[in-house]
């Protein structure tokens, strides 16, 4: 039931004197369907960890297994396909392609995969996100919160095994934040998506099943609060 396994993950940026150890020998596993919050001060390596998990950045050493696949053993193309199908990534900002509409942005992974869009699935997610009226809008015509909702929609469209979110509410006001987190939680519970969220916000962290605290590239605390 382990969907995610991290073994001795390390990431060093720069060389020589300016070398920075962003991650230092991190290892843990995540069971399917768990909502994990990753917290820690800035510079603790949270984003780095998330990027490693998403296959977006290569580790200096260590392995990442997703559904028992060593993702960094894959070549560029397969890794890209992996990202497309297995992972849903949400960033803090600049998530959307400016020239594509909401609908197109959401279905982007599918379009890249040249797969047909499952209309009912699409409509379900759109309804859940409350974006029915804005399907033809361009990102610059949306507010910050709406943009994030679209990002979430995209992260869900291709039915990934894991959803990774890097400070998804960092840019939003409290009302929007609550909405986003509720949505994420809903998807986590209803569709059994494994969810890893990096956050500063204690309130969000407290809503998770498990909290991992990072400090200086290492796991400082790993607590399951809702078994």
């Amino acid at each position: 039931m382990e969907i995610l396994k991290i073994e001795h993950l390390s990431k060093i940026y720069g060389t020589g004197e300016t070398a920075v150890k962003a991650l230092d020998d991190v290892s843990f596993t995540v069971p399917r369907g768990q909502f994990v919050a990753i917290i820690g001060p800035s510079g603790s390596g949270k984003s780095t960890l998330l990027h490693m998990l998403g296959g977006v950045d290569r580790p200096t050493s260590g392995k990442v297994f997703v559904e028992n696949t060593d993702i960094y053993a894959l070549d560029e193309t397969r890794l890209a396909i992996f990202r497309r199908r297995q992972v849903g990534l949400i960033y803090q900002f600049y998530n959307l392609i400016p020239v594509l509409t909401v609908a197109e942005n959401m279905t982007l992974p599918l379009l890249l995969d040249q797969q047909k869009v499952d209309e009912s699935h699409f409509q379900e997610i759109v309804k859940a996100l409350n974006m029915q009226d804005r399907l033809d809008y361009l990102p610059n015509q949306l507010s910050g919160g709406q943009q994030q909702r679209v990002s979430i929609g995209r992260a869900l469209m291709n039915n990934p095994s894991i959803m990774l979110a890097d400070e998804p509410t960092g840019n939003l006001d409290s009302k929007n934040s609550k909405e986003i987190i509720d949505l994420l939680k809903m998807f986590n519970k209803t569709f059994h998506k494994t969810l890893l969220v990096i956050t500063h916000d204690e309130r969000i962290a407290l809503q998770a099943d498990r909290v991992i605290a990072l400090e200086d590239g290492r796991i400082a605390k790993d607590e399951v609060i809702r078994p």
Binding site: T77, V99, T101
Partner: protein, 892 residues
Amino acid sequence: MNIINKLTLRQMRLNRRRTLVTIIGVIISVAMIMAVATISVSFLELVKKQTIAREGEWHVTYKNVNREQLQAVKGDEDTRTLILSRDRGYALLPGSQNEYKPYLFIKEYSSEAYTQLPIELSAGRLPQAPHEVVLSEEIAKNGKVKYALGEQITLAIGQRVKTAGENKGELLTQYAPLQRYIGEENAGEGTTGERTTGERTTGEENTEERNSRERGETLTTESTETYTVVGYIKRPNWEPTWAPGYTVISYLDESMVGAQDNVDALVVLKKVKRSLYPHAEALAQKAGIEQYNFNNYLLRFYGVTADDQLQKTLWTLTAIMMSIIVIGSVSLIYNAFAISVAERSRDLGMLASVGATKKQKRNSVYFEGAVIALVSIPLGLLSGLAGIGLTFHFINPLIQSVSGMSEELTVVVTPASILLACVVSLLTIFISTYLPARKASRISAIEAIRQTTEVKLTGKTVKTSKLIRRLLGIEAELGLKNLKRNKRRYQAVVFSLVISIVLFLTVSYFTASLQKALSLSQDGVNFDISVALGSEDPIAAEQYIRSIISLADVQKYSVVTQLTTFTWLDEQIIAPELREQVKADPSMLEKGEYPYYLDIYALDDESLREYATQVGADFAQFDQSPELVGIVVDTAIYEDKTANKIVETRAIEAEIGQTIDLYRDSRETYLGKMRISALTGQLPMGVFPAGVGGLNIIVSEQVLNKLAEQQVDTETSLFLRTADPLETQHQIEELVGSDHLYVYNVYQQRQKEEQMILLMSVFTYGFIVLITAISIANIFNSISTSIALRKREFAMLKSVGMTPKQFNKMINYESILYGIQALFYGLPLSILVMHLIHRTFQSSFRYEFFLPWERIGAVIMAVFVIVGSAMLFSGAKVKKENIIDALKQENI
């Protein structure tokens, strides 16, 4: 330096590649502007030098000045050099073998003349004392009278006076050829005629006197001089070829100008300014000089004459070229600065938030412009001069060959040309930076930080058809949308490409058309050299022909003798076009007949036989019949100005066996009947088509002689095909003097025309290459920036799962789309212009419109290569980027 400028400099340094590309582009455009200015100035200088070399250097002439006036002119502050000149007059050249040049023409010049005028000493020395002379070489070469160095000659000098016809009694100059007086009364008789000198008794005459009486002129005697020959000169340029007197130059100096004497004073000015005209006028008035004139032929090159066509045309052309360069450059520089402003928008916003005014923000852009100008303009000026210098070095031989000039093109740099180039360049940069500067001044803090102005899109802007996605995939759609999002930048790239495409295709089409026209005009000219043997002496002509055709390189020859007679043809058989005219205006007919001129050409027997066989006529009839027979060429060509083309039509609608009545010039001078022995559309070598209202008839020499006997003038020409046209021409010119015969070297002419085209191509293609270089810089800048600005987007696409292959596909589609758009506008536009060029040529030449397919193909390939490599180069950098680094980074 203030902080804003410091920041600007730092940004420029950070974006090294873009700054460099912009600088290179500006250098090229400055160099081109400088080149154009330099070419114009150097060209003017060349023509000026050439004029001085050919005609001499002098600026003002005061005519018939006495000693006192001479002093006034000499002492004038503007006078640099003074040349004294006096025409003494004519003297008979005893023993001259050229019956058209029986005289010597004596001119006196002061010693300054030899430096200022084109007098070339070929042997001996120049006159340094009175009664010393130099003789034109032609006296020995052409007149066949040899005077040795040191020999003394005594000449009776006088004036040529017209004795008959209009203006009787007038004095004749070197521009008046020997006057012939054709009249039955005086031919071959020994009666006394009128004389203007009373020295001879009537009765006995010598040959010379009879000759002078038969002429329409006579020679007075004013003085007798004895000269010593001290040298020979080459025939001076100012002596017309038909002048009846060979040039003799004698010595002159101030002391020889007596109180009552008159000389001409030629003044070389110290400085040529516009004020020279009023100054000369004042001087003349003050000194009482009545006649003075200016050497405007030379002065116009100094820019002081009003309304000179040459200068006007030259400067108009220069202005046009510069405008084209400026337009091309503006698009490049504008783009570069627009990009710079977009990239710096965050900084500018921050500056705004800390209190920078609109003016300060705006000036930061101007500052960047100034820095680029500072670096590029000097380098551009230098490279422009260097480039032109190099070009001149290589094309000088070509120019000299084409134009026949003896002077070389040198690079002339004037403060004016440099100033012009600088001003134009600065103006270009200023115009280009104006709009971006204004945009920069408006950037507010919030916009910059939010960075939302980068993409102000609406759904409509980036709408693409569904087809694209279905046919080509999401990558193509993304590519297309990417192009649409920044319309202005995209349009700038397409615009640059279109300009280059149109320029290249139209100019290469133009040169191709020139070459085609050249080859067409050569159609039918199947000989290399033609020699016009004149109409005077058939026996001498015969001799010349014999000697020429026996020259080593002559491969084929044809002797054509021509005379013109007249006839009146019945309305029924004249050309259809004339019949129509006559229907409209019956008064054109005389007694129901239309007057025609008949050009009758006789070929030498061998050529005639060949021709007759060719056209299916019977050569034998020329031999046998005592009557006049001829092969009538019944096609005529004329230019229909209303329909705007050249048309071929029937010259005459007659039949074989019909006869034509020949008249010499009027109905009273009947010559005989000519029978049409054959009708054809082909012309023999050396015969050109007749116009409507005329006929070409080909006959044998016998037939022609029968007509010529009846007082009809003939012209003989020799047409040659040779293995070495230039050598043969030299040999011919050596065989004969330069007077009777006119040698026309078609081959040389053709060569000249081809070289002219080559010369033009050098400049036009050079120009295009440079403009294209500017375009490429532009394209490169635009594309690499548009990619750099989208780094984050690309990173995000990658994070969502776009494979490298898909990424490449997207970039490729973008470049293909650029190319397709550029071609979509560029090709039709080029074809339109090509059509216009074709129409212009059609007014003189008739040929089918042809599309230069290979060139079009080359252009298409080039466009894709250019755009593709720009994208590839920029894309490669982006691809390698780490997704995360990109996502985190700013747009650097």
